[in-house]
């Protein structure tokens, strides 16, 4: 959060603080929809992925997608939630064209997960937000308004896809905390493989509940809800604007104007706006979904799912620092993306130099991924082969600079590093007796610069190294060349 350059920034207020709770909606990655067997995916012709169930046709009935339930339980286990042995679904009623049944199947009193806590980092310091619950529901379709046409259209491809809602306690205090909390949620979802968390496609959406109060107070003031934020940046910006708005009202004695309402964030104008008028007082008339029997879990089934949990980001972060000796920065960078971290670990398995492997993964490899625009699984370089390249660099068999060319060639051809290094003629010459001969030749050929070096003109040594490189077509190990020049100039020539 940047401090405003001039004037008082309400966000810097020492008198007031914000209280923030998030409701994060996560699109689950399942093959089929929540209550029918239609494919759950994006980017198809409108209404192509529908059936009587997700169209809400007369007589159709829902059937629970076990996979979605499992995913939700796994997320709950990852956050230490209680998993009650009985869970049930409820109907939430409201009329809207994108909701074909006139109700959404959701969960009210008996969510799949109760409680739990999310640990996350803000500026290197650990924070905790408690969870209220995690429940499962079905997504709605999409209303489509075509510019200049009087009628609207509805696409129900998304209708009935599984949506998990993670509800936090109002434990967050700053927009930055809210953003970092959400980043951690995303990281964990990716680690569990339950969602692609693709924010452009709306796989991760957030409603923010925010109120403000005198700093240190323990009661909760009237809150507003900012709906449907779909990027970390928008979450942070929207909260900044809303908190500033509320504090400004408090500072000027107009706190009565803070009312419980739903607000929308307008990123272009940088403000939140009341949806007043649109938002009527909803009575959702929840009642137990009679078409679905309650689900009863066995403790063994839950334990079975617990066994499928991968090592979670924070645990891995600690291990990378303690067991592999990585810096906090490098460990954090590696852990952020599960695929990168997995790749890194497989590299380290075959070449146990975590620091140099980590460096190469985070720099050369990531750069290569970026320039190719592919994920790590598509780069075509097996971790064992990548480790060989790092080892070759560490052994002086190839220069750092040339190693990047070799990596590119590896990705292009899928061939091993050693082969390509030889073939591309980029083997670094680190053979002492050979280099010693070349250095002796260079010294003999350039008495002037040699004299300069003897008199302490260090610049001239670079010239001599350059000559060595020229005579070896750039393959000499430059560090070795330099130390040999020092050695040979400093001592009387052998004769």
């Amino acid at each position: 959060m940047s401090a405003a350059a001039a004037g008082r920034d309400p966000l810097e207020s020492t008198r007031f603080e914000a209280v923030i709770g998030l409701e994060v909606h996560v699109q689950l990655l399942t093959r089929t929809k929540m209550f029918c067997r239609c494919e759950a995916r994006f980017g198809t012709e409108a209404n192509a992925l529908t059936c009587p169930v997700c169209l809400g046709l007369p007589g159709s009935l829902p059937c629970i997608n076990r996979r979605a339930v499992e995913s939700t339980v796994r997320v709950g286990l990852a956050f230490g939630s209680e998993i009650p042995l009985l869970t049930k679904f409820d109907r939430k009623s409201y009329f809207y064209p994108d909701l074909p049944k006139g109700y959404q199947i959701s969960q009210k009193d008996d969510p799949i997960c109760k409680g739990g806590r999310v640990e996350f980092f803000v500026d290197g310091e650990i924070r905790v937000a408690r969870l209220v619950r995690i429940h499962l529901e079905e997504d709605a379709g999409k209303n489509i308004h075509v510019e200049g046409r009087p009628e609207s259209w509805v696409d129900l491809n998304r209708a009935g896809t599984p949506l998990m809602e993670v509800v936090s306690e109002p434990d967050l205090r700053t927009p930055r905390e809210a953003g970092d909390y959400m980043r951690m949620l995303r990281q964990v979802m990716l680690y569990l493989g339950v969602s692609d968390c693709n924010m452009e496609e709306g796989s991760l959406r957030c409603d923010c509940n925010v109120s403000t109060r005198l700093r240190g107070a323990s009661h909760l003031e009237t809150r507003t809800e900012i709906k449907n934020l779909n990027s970390f940046l928008n979450v942070e910006k929207a909260l900044e604007h809303e908190i500033a708005r509320q504090i400004r009202l408090r500072e000027t004695g107009r706190e009565a104007e803070i009312v419980q309402e739903t607000r929308l964030y307008d990123p272009d104008r940088g403000e939140t706006r009341s949806m007043r008028g649109k938002e009527e007082a909803h009575d959702y008339r929840y009642f137990p979904e009679p078409d679905l029997a309650p689900l009863v879990f066995s403790p063994e089934w839950i334990d079975g799912l617990r066994a499928t949990l991968p090592e979670l980001p924070l645990v891995r972060l600690g291990r990378f620092q303690e067991d592999l000796g990585l810096s906090a920065y490098h460990a954090d960078q590696l852990v952020r993306d599960k695929e990168i971290a997995d790749y890194f670990e497989r590299c380290v398995e075959s070449y146990r130099q975590p620091q140099s492997v980590g460096n190469w993964v985070l720099n050369a490899l990531r750069e290569e991924l970026r320039s190719r625009g592919v994920g790590i699984e598509d780069i075509g370089v097996a971790p064992e082969r990548f480790a060989e390249l790092v080892r070759a660099v560490d052994d002086g068999a190839v220069s750092t600079q040339k190693a990047r060319d070799v990596l590119r060639a590896m990705a292009d051809s899928g061939r091993p590093a050693a082969e390509l290094i030889r073939e591309m003629g980029v083997e670094q010459i680190s053979d002492d007796s050979f280099l010693r001969g070349v250095v002796q030749d260079v010294i003999a050929a350039h008495p002037g610069p040699v004299e300069d070096v003897r008199r302490g003109k260090r610049n001239s040594i670079n010239f001599l190294v350059g000559q060595v490189m020229r005579r070896t077509k750039g393959q000499a190990n430059p560090a070795m060349a330099m130390s040999l020049i020092d050695e040979l100039i400093g001592s009387p020539p052998a004769e």
Binding site: P52, L55, G56, L57, P58, G59, S60, L61, P62, C63, I64, R91, S93, F95, P97, P100, K101, G102, Y103, V154, D283, R285, Y286, F287, P290, D291, L292, A293
Partner: protein
């Protein structure tokens, strides 16, 4: 089922069976208006296909060539699926209900869809948006409801299968009014997939025939688990027709005092008590039992069914299918007008009641209380079923009543269901069979309740009774089959 056996023996082709069914419909329907849609062309084409398979020596299914009708709240690929409502008047389902699919897979042929109270809400079939149906015994009287069309056809025609649905008595009460044999199976015994929902936790599909044995045969075909209905039960399906013909000696029958309430017509009580004597003579043990919460069943039923209906009927909003008002401007206006024009008065009344009882502030007092009563009713039966195998009682406190007699007084109409709703609240199997006629020549229904998932005991008692009596064989004045050979 005689028609099935005759086709099987080659004495009759499937096409002849269907033509005979269509002929009977031609005779009775103008007078009874029991069918909403008849499919002569589709049925004859399907029958001809069955005949070709039979001619080729193929197994065309256990019900090959048998014509069937379904209540018009079953989704069918044939015709429209209206649920008796204007709002679905032109709705064509892209799929068959599971029960319909199973009948077709068994070789049966869909010939017609029968009239009903709109969305199954009513006990007289007078709430159909299209027309009333008349009682074949006395055409000035109602056939009962909501499966009135099916019950009227079950006694006035022969050689067909009829499926109805029962949410609070909608199979049993019209069966009683028409002298038919109608079974509401245990909840979960038959898949509800493709049945236009009224109240999901109460709805169940079942047969209405002229004999209990035929009901057993139909149940055998349509029962069983369905992956499309997670409330269907994954339990083995007995050979109901065989089970139904077993001896009833030693079965213990309970007669609940609460089921002969004040206001029951004397002739109804008399015929039912006489029927219970027949069971005693056949070797059943009869004893008095008590179901003390019976008088709370009807109010609980009204609240639970209305609550679920208000939600189930929310989808008829004019947006995706069904009726959309042409005069609407804007979204909310479209909702209001489409639903306002599309639903009848009784449906609106139940939606209002249901919406009210689910509203915050009233939910606990009404909906939750109703659920608690439902539980007490369940417990009443659990207790009684520790000492008896089945409960026998009247189906309805009154026989068929004149058209228009009760339609303007919802409470008087709801009172007709008082003896049938407990089966739905407690998820029990229940059946109505004719046990005599009043002095006005109107049938009286005997009701048999069984334990959950013991539908075969109910059928066994009904079959045993029908082996000793001939009420179910009598033909009504409006009749398409009298003089013909079918009747079984």
């Amino acid at each position: 089922m005689e028609i099935r056996d005759r086709i099987r023996r080659g004495e009759m082709s499937a096409l002849e069976a269907v033509d005979e069914a269509l002929r009977q419909l031609d005779v009775v329907n103008p007078r009874l208006q029991a069918a909403l849609q008849i499919f002569p062309d589709g049925a004859r084409t399907a029958a001809a296909a069955i005949d070709r398979r039979l001619a080729a020596g193929e197994d065309a299914g256990p019900l090959a060539g048998v014509p069937f009708t379904v209540k018009d709240n079953f989704c069918t690929l044939e015709g429209h699926t209206t649920a008796g409502s204007r709002i679905l008047e032109s709705f064509a389902s892209p799929y068959d209900a599971t029960a319909v699919r199973k009948l077709k897979e068994a070789g049966a042929v869909c010939v017609a869809k029968t009239n009903l109270d709109e969305f199954g809400m009513g006990s007289s079939t007078e709430n159909s948006a299209f027309h009333v149906t008349r009682n074949p015994w006395k055409t000035t009287h109602v056939p009962g409801g909501s499966s009135g069309g099916a019950a009227a056809l079950a006694v006035s025609t022969g050689g067909m299968i009829h499926l109805g649905s029962d949410t609070g008595g909608s199979i049993r009460q019209p069966s009683a009014c028409c002298g038919a044999s109608g079974l509401k199976p245990t909840y979960g015994r038959v898949s509800r997939y493709g049945l236009v929902a009224f109240a999901s936790s109460l709805d169940q599909i079942g047969p209405i025939q002229s004999s209990a044995l035929d009901c057993a045969l139909v149940l055998e075909t349509i029962a069983g688990a369905d992956p499309m209905d997670s409330t269907s039960r994954d339990l083995p399906v007995p050979r109901y027709a065989d089970e139904a013909q077993q001896d009833i000696r030693g079965l213990r029958l309970g007669v609940p005092a609460e089921y002969f309430p004040e206001g029951i017509e004397a002739e109804v009580e008399e015929k039912v008590r006489a029927a219970i004597e027949v069971f005693r003579e056949m070797g059943a043990e009869v004893r008095d039992v008590s179901l003390p919460h019976t008088r709370y069943a009807n109010p609980a039923y009204v609240l639970v069914s209305a609550a679920e209906a208000s939600s189930n009927l929310a989808r008829y909003d004019g947006v995706h299918y069904g009726r959309r008002s042409v005069s609407a401007s804007g979204l909310v206006d479209m909702y209001c007008r489409s639903r306002g024009e599309g639903f009848g008065a009784e449906v609106k009344r139940r939606i209002l009641i249901g919406t009210f009882v689910l509203s915050s502030g009233y939910y606990d007092a009404y909906y939750l209380t109703a659920l608690r009563v439902r539980n007490l009713i369940r417990q009443d039966f659990e207790k009684v079923y520790r000492e008896v195998d089945a409960v026998v009682c009247p189906t309805s406190p009154v026989p068929a009543f004149p058209l228009g007699d009760r339609i303007d007084d919802p409470l008087k109409l709801y009172a007709v269901d008082v003896l049938t709703v407990p089966a739905n609240l407690a998820s029990l199997p229940g059946m109505s069979i004719p046990c005599g006629f009043t002095s006005e020549a109107l049938p009286v229904g005997l009701q048999i309740y069984g334990r959950p998932m013991q539908d075969e005991i109910v059928l066994r008692l009904a079959c045993a009774y029908q082996a000793r009596t001939d009420h179910h064989l009598r033909a009504p004045p409006v009749c398409g089959w009298r003089g013909g050979e079918e009747g079984g």
